[in-house]
Symmetry: C2
Subunit: 336 residues, 2 copies
């Protein structure tokens, strides 16, 4: 069977360069015992995809090297299986190659039960690592309480929007930070947040001072850098700062030019906690928190938008769109 | 009754300047109902004393302004009392003025039961806010486990030394960071730490890489700044970073020149937590943790040294000594 997939030809340091990937043709090899052949339906494009392309980077979940097929979170259909528990026709989500057909490790796959109330692409947005990051980050890492004043950065991004909606669904006052009038309008009109700050035109510092005179109890951060530093000036006593992402720092030419955060001593004066996490660390709690999120989704309290890019051949370019914030909803590539 | 005390004549911004304080004479006024008159025996000089002298600063526990008598943690003897529970002759620790006699608020006083096994000055070192910071910071905030590889900065300082000894008493591998051969010798010989790094001559980064190939599980930080940033590069998955102090950042001419910490995204990749605290937030747990520390002290597992400066008139100058790291043990002023 003929295949096509994206091979890593060089690490992408500095500004992301789609030419770090090359579209190669190949033939699917026969399955070995324990393997599964999947036809890729959708590929998820995520900020961490960009970090993985640095190759030797602390974000690396799988060791990737030049010559490997790029990998990511994806949704697909089992074609052949030599492992129990998965059969041809099964819908699966997991981590596998950016290719039409992929031979996957069942350890990295989850079988998805089709549900007529859940559109298939939602399995790569609300019901994926993204929705889990928002849910686990808000509820476990952040310890969300209904009395919290919550700030979310990149609040119009997929993770941020879900995180913000979870906080609203829990009765919190929620302020979103995003870039541009369209995104801020989305936060106010669609997500019904209490306020939105456009960091591209506004003064985040003075707007937070006005909006949060009693301080911020929970900051769910997706961007890092100067916005994180500015928000720290406004945290309340006992605040929790959840480090979910740091997209402002992913495209540095030189990691020594990373933004330096000056306000860490405030963690001491404000008796505050800053905590980072990775979704897989909570694997034992997926079932419990997936159910919480599914309920919020089925009640209409959490919604997500998909931004579909058609065709595997457009995947590397689409990642640029994500990094510039040009996507409008969860970015994914429709492969088949 | 004649009195002498240190009045704040200006805020001390930038490099600490002892001339921000002036020694004034006065007469002790009569007690009002609910007040206590104390004769000061010892004054504790602490890094936070310096921060309080900035006056309008987030570290401020009590609002201080120009014209007020400087305050700090102190040990003294009740002279007169118009409150129940305290009587003349009682030994008390608390927060009151840098003066010979001070009229104190009983809410800020703790009565000390004399114990023949505990030298009186230990009530301002091991058995004070300092020992509590080490104990609560290590055990509650840091969640110390016997399997942890622990790093302590300013490990020869009073808080750091107690924190390091608590970790040793719990069976941990402990590495101390300090400035100079004498302090590093103290860490190895007296405190029996597993290793000491002299940040003034060594390369902290490469020494940590050699000493902690599997990463640091708990970092108890008293200094902030570049040492904190360097240690972050070596934290293990699941690490806890306890922000107890940031002495490298207290003497800045301009707070906008604060050191910027670049490695915060590692909190995410390493699933790590950074948490600041203030001792009073744990007031409900003082009795429980004081008893733990007292047991370690009486078993000889935790020791502390006092560096006594004679005479109230030397207090402002002695604070300079503390800030330059020139003290040798818990710095305190013997007043009477």
């Amino acid at each position: 069977m003929r295949n096509k997939g994206w091979t890593i030809v060089k690490p992408s340091l500095g500004t992301y360069d789609p030419s770090c990937l090359r579209l190669d043709e190949s033939t699917v090899r026969p399955l070995k015992q324990g393997e599964v052949l999947i036809k890729t339906n959708f590929l998820s494009l995520d900020p961490v995809s960009r970090s993985w392309l640095k190759l030797d980077h602390p974000s690396a979940f799988l060791p990737l090297k030049v010559g490997d097929t790029m990998v990511g979170v994806a949704l697909g259909t089992v074609q052949q299986s030599s492992t129990s528990g998965l059969a041809p026709g099964d819908l699966v989500r997991g981590i596998w190659g950016w290719e039409l057909y992929s031979i996957a490790n069942p350890m990295l796959l989850e079988k998805i039960e089709p549900n007529p109330d859940i559109p298939v692409e939602a399995h790569l947005s609300v019901f994926s690592h993204v929705g889990r990051a928002a849910t686990l980050g808000m509820l476990i890492v952040g310890g969300l309480k209904s009395s919290d004043t919550v700030v979310v950065s990149a609040a119009a991004g997929t993770t941020g929007a879900i995180a913000a909606q979870i906080a609203k669904a829990n009765g919190c006052r929620v302020i979103g930070i995003a870039g541009g009038a369209a995104k801020c309008g989305y936060l106010l009109v669609e997500l019904k947040l209490d306020a939105a700050i456009d960091y591209k035109v506004g003064d985040v510092d003075s707007e937070l001072a006005d909006l949060c005179p009693d301080g911020i109890d929970l900051f769910f951060d997706n961007v890092g850098g100067p916005i994180l530093d500015t928000v720290l000036e406004h945290i309340a006593v006992g605040a929790r700062v959840v480090i979910c992402g740091a997209i402002s720092q992913y495209d540095l030419e030189d990691e020594s030019n990373a933004y330096g955060c000056k306000n860490l001593p405030l963690l001491m004066y404000r008796q505050a906690r800053m905590q980072g996490f990775q979704v897989p660390q909570f694997v034992d709690r997926f079932a419990e928190y997936d159910a919480i999120l599914r309920n919020m989704f089925l009640q209409g309290k959490v919604r997500s938008r998909a931004h579909l890019i058609d065709g595997l051949e457009r995947a590397p370019g689409a990642l640029s769109l994500l990094l510039s914030g040009g996507n409008d909803g969860k970015l994914m590539v429709k492969v088949a």
